[in-house]
């Protein structure tokens, strides 16, 4: 139901509507006709009127004054005093003093005349009009005042901001000036230093020229004569350079080799390179796979302790595979898988057995299952994935599905690009495919 304003609602016999109007009416009743104050006093002289209105115990804070050029209204609930002035006054220059139980109004007359009475007699309509005008005027004035105040506040804020900025700029300039001075001083020092460097370099060069050939002469005969010359024409720089060439440098160090090892990590990549999230996932999966044991199998009761351990069964299967008993190996792997469906090695090995037994479709299924379990692809399960791909590839090729087989061989090559046998096999498959098309 939307809210309806009581005054515009059609007069429906609507319960809510009725409630609304009753509330409206009761509000009206509260703002009853106030008590008119009649015991005011007033005096006047040529240009001013003084009106004194007793406040009858009402606090000055709740006194509300509306004053226009022809009308004065003082309302202090529940009292009301209003007067339609005899002559017009200058509202701006009039003042009101409210306190001590009385409100005193000092009204400046517009025309210097003596008023016969305070009130003028005007009819009700005029009164109403004047009242409305007064209210409007007061509202306008309030609006203007607040606007002026807002503008003034804005102005002051702006001024404050500008002054702040000026101060900060001054500070910044001062610091910049100090920095520039330092810079200039440092530059001057640098230039001076460079000049002295250059001068000493030149001097050294001149000295070297006068001394003749420098100390880089290696031939023994000349060296003797040179040392003789140097001994006779002794300059301090000559002495120093002689000392340095004469000083024996120690022989080159005897060769040594230090072997080092690097801080190990579970995965061989540095922290910044590692695919940490995938590697963590892989480790977690492995851990879970170890733990998962499918326990609600009826056949479990018939098994020995050993035969309930998937690892033991896997080892058994591997041994049987090695010895060539592929069917028995398959059985061992079957049982292991029944116990734990999450170990990829079991599927991969069973695929190898099936390959040997020429159960090619089963081999493909098992290696696919193994590859599924070997996700995510990380460095740690690379060799397992390699084996699975190769086995599946072989099975596909045996079935003459060469394209699928090639795909698997390519995947295997991606894992291990340096495997020559793999490369040879995949090349052969390529040839066969090209031969048949």
């Amino acid at each position: 139901m939307t809210d309806r304003h009581p005054s515009i609602a059609p007069p429906l016999s609507n319960h809510r509507h009725v409630v609304a109007t009753s509330v409206y009416v009761s509000l009206r009743r509260e703002s009853e006709m106030p008590l008119i104050v009649k015991d005011h006093t007033w005096t006047q002289n040529q240009n001013t009127v003084y009106i004194s209105v007793p406040l009858k115990g009402v606090k000055p804070a709740s006194v509300h004054v509306i004053c226009t050029d022809e009308y004065l209204k003082v309302s202090f609930p529940p009292f009301l005093f209003e007067v339609f002035l005899f002559g017009s006054i200058n509202e701006e220059r009039s003042e009101a003093r409210i306190g001590n139980g009385v409100a005193v109004f000092t009204l400046q007359k517009r025309r210097d005349e003596s008023w016969e009475q305070l009130f003028t007699n005007i009819d009700k309509d005029k009164q109403k009009q004047i009242r409305e005008q007064a209210v409007l005027k007061v509202q306008q004035k309030e609006a203007e005042k607040s606007k002026a105040k807002a503008a003034r506040i804005q102005q002051e804020k702006k001024y404050a901001l500008e002054t702040m900025m000026k101060l900060e700029n001054k500070e910044r300039d001062r610091i910049q000036k100090m920095k520039d001075e330092e810079c200039a001083r440092a530059t001057a020092e640098l230039d001076f230093w460079r000049e002295t460097q250059r001068k000493t370099a030149e001097e050294k060069e001149n000295q070297q020229k006068t001394r003749g050939t420098g100390p880089q002469d290696n031939q023994p005969v000349n060296q003797k004569t040179v040392t003789l010359m140097r001994n006779t024409g002794d300059t301090t720089s000559g002495q120093r350079s002689r000392k340095q060439t004469a000083k024996d440098l120690p022989a080159p160090r005897s060769a040594g080799c230090i072997q080092i090892s690097f801080t190990p990590r579970v995965f061989p990549t540095a922290l910044r390179e590692s695919h940490v999230p995938e590697e963590e996932e892989w480790l977690k999966k492995q851990a879970e796979a170890r733990r998962a044991v499918d326990t609600d199998l009826a056949e479990l009761d018939d098994l020995r302790e050993d035969e309930r351990n998937p690892d033991w069964l896997k080892e058994k299967g591997d041994k049987l595979f090695m010895s060539g008993n592929y069917q028995a190996a398959v059985n061992a792997y079957n049982l292991a898988i029944k116990l734990n469906r999450k170990i990829p090695a079991l599927f991969s090995n069973r695929a190898a057995c099936h390959l040997k037994l020429r159960n090619l479709h089963k081999a493909i299924e098992d290696s696919s299952q193994a590859l599924e379990l070997l996700k995510p692809a990380v460095a740690a399960n690379a060799s397992a994935r390699l084996k699975a791909h190769v086995r599946r590839g072989t099975a596909f090729c045996e079935l003459e599905l060469y394209v699928e087989g090639l795909q698997d061989y390519q995947a295997a090559l991606e894992i291990d690009p340096h495997n020559a046998a793999l490369r040879a096999d995949s090349d052969k498959i390529c040839e066969i495919i090209q031969g048949t098309t």
């Binding site: 610091i175 100090m178 920095k179 001075e181 330092e182 810079c183 001083r185 440092a186 530059t187 640098l190 230039d191 230093w193 460079r194 460097q197 250059r198 370099a201 350079s241 340095q244 440098l249 120690p250 022989a251 080159p252 160090r253 005897s254 060769a255 040594g256 080799c257 230090i258 072997q259 080092i260 090892s261 690097f262 801080t263 990590r265 061989p268 540095a270 922290l271 910044r272």
Partner: protein, 356 residues
Amino acid sequence: MSLEKPQIIAHIQKSLNYTVFDSRWIPCSAKFVCMGNFARGSGVLQIYEIQHGELQLVREIEKAKPIKCGTFGATSLQQRHLATGDFDGSLNVWNLEVPESPVYSVKAHKEIINSIDGVGGLGIGDGAPEIVTGSRDGTVKVWDSRQKDTPVVNMEPMEGETKRDCWTVAFGHAFNEQDRCVCAGYDNGDIKLFDLRNMSLRWETNIKNGVCSVEFDRKDINMNKLVATSLEGKFHVFDMRTQHPTKGFASVSEKAHKSTIWQVRHLPQNRDIFMTAGGAGNLHLWKYEYPAQRTKKGADDVDMGVAGSVNLLQNVTLSTQPISSLDWSPDKQGLCVCSSFDQSVRVLIVTKLNTV
């Protein structure tokens, strides 16, 4: 009132037309060398001189392979030969007056030489001048220019070990003719300290993030402090005077720059002041304060080092690209040259360092 803190003033800035990787002062002069590679894939060495507030190009030398790093650390003051490592793994020592063919050349590594350092030259310290190079192939090799073709020491991974890139090398502890240490930082956060006198690994640690730069505060004294900077805006200052048998060296670490700290360089005139260059193009100037006691007794009555504290003196942002290299002038305190990946090189003056 004048400014009291040291100010870092960008005195000259020059835009170059190639990527510059390293810049080094030529000792006893107001010239420096910039090394990098042209867009066409060849290496370049440019020598600049500071004249009247501007950089004058004195010489430009183009080489076949881009040059990654260089050092003057292993030559005498008269010769001032520059040892460079390039993208191909070759170590070359050039006489800049006659740059057509190198004074010494060897194919040091199979992959790019990331970092190079020299010791024993410039009249600093005793012992034979040697050059150490660290490369992406995971090995750190020490070379002597009198021995051709084979390194004097080779620090390589063991057989079967996956190699990690070596990102930075530094010499230190070269206070007499026999002692010398090489510190190497790798991309997996390993820091290894090799003692060349005993030919063994003296200490190693891992700071989790790749080590971009290591430097001893002085090469030619009993090792005092080592600063190692890494990725992720952290650097560590190790107090190297006291080595605990299990805990190693004490250290204090600081996070700054909010990005990779590419370089750290100690002021040659004051070994407790160093500057770090960051990946956001900013430079921080730090001062290390020693603790009241540099050693203390540990739990098992063995001496342990105590690390001090590091204070930031000043910082400035010069560029938006990382500042890849920084070098203090050994002749004028406060003068330094830095190069960054926005293909520009800047000469900076740091003031008030004598009152710090």
